[in-house]
């Protein structure tokens, strides 16, 4: 995780490891479709590597950054729980 602050600008990057490329790809596609609310001035960028999901935020307000990160982590946890609970049968 990395974060930096300059004048009126906040950045945060996180990497979320997954067991395989398949899980990374599923998480990326489940979490990508919805846009950030425009009013917040926060930009979130998702990308995938071989076994990790990378998320990067650019924000003008700390408050909207915190809201965005908080809800993203909630959504990520839900996607991971769903994979744990319903992932196995598809691999048959």
């Amino acid at each position: 995780m990395a974060s930096s602050i300059s004048d009126n600008h906040f950045e945060l990057s996180i990497e979320v490891p997954f067991p395989s490329q398949r899980e990374v790809s599923i998480a990326l596609q489940s979490l990508s479709p919805d846009r950030e609310p425009r009013a917040g001035g926060t930009i979130k960028t998702l990308s995938a590597s071989a076994n990790a999901l990378s998320v990067k935020w650019n924000a003008v307000e700390a408050r909207s950054l915190r809201v965005s990160v908080g809800s993203f982590l909630d959504h990520l946890a839900l996607v991971m729980e769903t994979m744990d609970a319903f992932g196995q049968p598809a691999l048959q």
Binding site: S25, I26, A27, Q29, S30, L31, S32, P33, D34, R35, D74, H75, L78, V79, E81, T82, M83, A85, F86, G87, P89, A90, Q92
Partner: protein, 335 residues
């Protein structure tokens, strides 16, 4: 055979249903119930859905006796509705669609109600009255669209009832509307309220303000009972709905009415609509709370129709939307 699983969570109900060629195999549901005097807010509602959604999904599969491999398509509510609850449900739908390798179909919630009503009642080409906590529309089908003939110009009829229930602290369990309906049966006098039909449209916010303003005064002075207010409010609101439905039928020369949406399971509304239909020699179709109130099977059924004509939603296009009008959808599955 085509098996579709449907995910619904646009308001305070979370439901997952499985439909196989017109047969509902399972349809479990949970409702987020708030204390008397309180409505449901997006954040808390999403939290409720998130807490139970995987359990409800397990129930849907178990009750249907199916494995994920038996499912052909995953349908979910794309909108309209509250953003946070919609997104919670869409996330799970997207994830299982990928895990199971099944196509995804985004469904308009209103279309879900209409298609479920048509399936359950067998109504062929009805004038539809769609009444719920978030929507009030009179709809008729023409040339591949469900066209909105009349609608509320402010709040939904169910929202008016729910908020009235909050004013006089009626329980939200199982739903405010159900409790108002039961109390209304004991009402003895009709209190005159504003009647606000505007052409083909209706307005409820003024009626709500009026009753909010006078309810406590009249109750405290003993001029009327809470039961009288429930009775009077229902009679007024439902008369307005029957009036615009009848006008739409006259325009379309329709001989069928289908009532859908959560308020549609109100038996007094069905009775009043029934009287109007009888006078016109028309037929009334309605369903009970299992299918009127938001549920997963209705999304599965609309998804089934869409999937059968080859419509699927790419993951990148599977964003949810709080605003999504009934007439935005091209109805590709009807002539």
């Amino acid at each position: 055979m085509t098996v579709v699983i449907g995910f619904e969570g646009s308001a305070n109900k979370i439901g997952i249903g499985i439909v196989r060629d017109g047969e509902v195999l399972s349809n479990p549901r949970r409702t987020y119930i708030t204390p008397p005097g309180q409505g449901f807010l997006p954040r808390e509602t999403a939290k409720h859905h998130r807490g139970v959604i995987l359990t409800v999904l397990r129930e849907a599969l178990d009750e249907a006796g199916l494995k994920p491999a038996d499912i052909d398509c995953v349908a979910y509510t794309k909108g309209p509705g509250m953003g946070a609850p919609l997104l919670t449900v869409a996330l799970v739908a997207r994830t299982v669609a990928q895990l199971w390798g099944k196509p995804l179909v985004g469904v308009n919630h209103c279309i879900g109600h209409i298609e479920m009503g048509r399936l359950i009642t067998g109504a062929n080409n009805p004038t539809v009255l769609y009444v719920s906590g978030g929507n009030t529309q009179v709809i008729a089908y023409s040339e591949r669209r469900y066209r909105i003939f009349g609608e509320t110009i402010d709040i939904a009829v169910g929202n008016c009832l729910d908020r009235f229930a909050r004013v006089i602290k009626i329980s939200n369990d199982p739903s405010p509307g159900y409790n108002i309906e039961q109390m209304a049966k004991k009402g003895k006098q009709y209190i005159e309220l504003p009647y606000t039909v505007k052409g083909m449209d209706v307005s409820f916010s003024g009626i709500l303000s009026y009753i909010e303003d006078m309810a406590h005064k009249m109750l405290n002075s003993g001029q009327c009972t809470a039961e009288d207010l429930c009775f009077s409010l229902q009679e007024t609101l439902f008369s307005m709905l029957v009036e615009i439905t009848e006008r739409a039928m006259a325009h379309c020369e329709s001989q069928e009415v289908l009532i859908v949406g959560g308020v549609g399971c109100n038996l007094r509304l069905q009775e009043m609509m029934g009287v109007m239909c009888e006078e016109r020699g028309a037929r009334l179709f309605a369903t009970d709370e299992r299918f009127c109130i938001d549920n997963g099977a209705m999304i599965a059924q609309a998804g089934w129709e869409m999937f059968r004509v080859g419509q699927v939603t790419q993951l990148s296009d599977s964003w949810i939307t709080q605003r999504y009008r009934t007439d935005e959808v091209e109805v590709t599955w009807r002539d």
